[in-house]
């Protein structure tokens, strides 16, 4: 299995899920469980880092959409870090680049989220 997932807390106390490898119909359920766990812990904001992802399928997109919807239901947000043009293209084709806030780096995401939450 070419998939790895780590969860840590950013300096701003935001949870961040770092994904690595291939997120597809086989591995995306793990991401779903992780997002649900973070939601249930009461977090209202979440960062998902796709920097090290080299394959992302429609199942993974569905999981991310589900997470975003649930975050927004509690007036929260889920943002993505995705510098890879290859992965970004999947979001563009499906129109999801218009509903997700997508940043190129953790620094960029932190700057924007920090401004929104302070």
């Amino acid at each position: 299995m070419n998939f790895k997932m780590d969860v840590r807390t950013m300096e701003t106390d935001l949870p961040i899920i770092e994904l690595e490898g291939e997120v597809d119909v086989y591995t995306a359920p793990q991401l779903k469980q992780q997002i649900i766990g973070i939601l249930e812990s009461g977090a209202k904001e979440l960062v998902v880092d796709l920097t090290k992802v080299d394959y992302l399928d429609s199942t993974a997109l569905g999981v991310l959409i589900g997470g975003l919807k649930r975050m927004r239901e509690v007036d929260g947000n889920m943002v993505l870090i995705c510098p890879s043009p290859r992965i970004r293209r999947v979001f563009e084709i499906t129109g999801l680049d218009k509903i997700f806030d997508i940043y190129n780096s953790e620094e960029e995401a932190r700057e924007v989220i920090g401004k929104e939450t302070v």
Binding site: D57, S58, L61, G66, G95
Partner: protein
Amino acid sequence: MGNRIEIRVPCKPEYVRTVRKLIAEFAESANMPPRAVEEIEIAASEAVTNIVRHAYKGCTRNPRMCVKCAQRKSGLIVEVIDNGNGFNAPPDNVVPDVDPNREGGLGITLIKCLMDRVNYVSKPDEGTRIRMLKSIQDLPHADPTK
């Protein structure tokens, strides 16, 4: 006639990666350019994923799937076949509406956007055959004779 491969794997999520990697290797060996290889890999993977997720829901038949890939003068053809529930196929060559708020249906959107031609034959309770073409036209680095 060019080269061709046929892959038969169990209809399980853990085999989807195997299928897409084999299809990508075949496309590479057919001298398709890197971007086309990437698009073929995604489309094949999405078609197989659809089978794993939907084709055999509530179905008592033995879940099977078969992927065929063939090199033609016109380009690379990928066929993905199951004998599951079948579905009402959308009209050919219609670009699907993209509703970014939905969690399903994104696979078909990707397939139709990434491949040059997509055809469905689907019959209720008999299964589905999706045939996709990645055209070699406008791919200057591809060698159709190889």
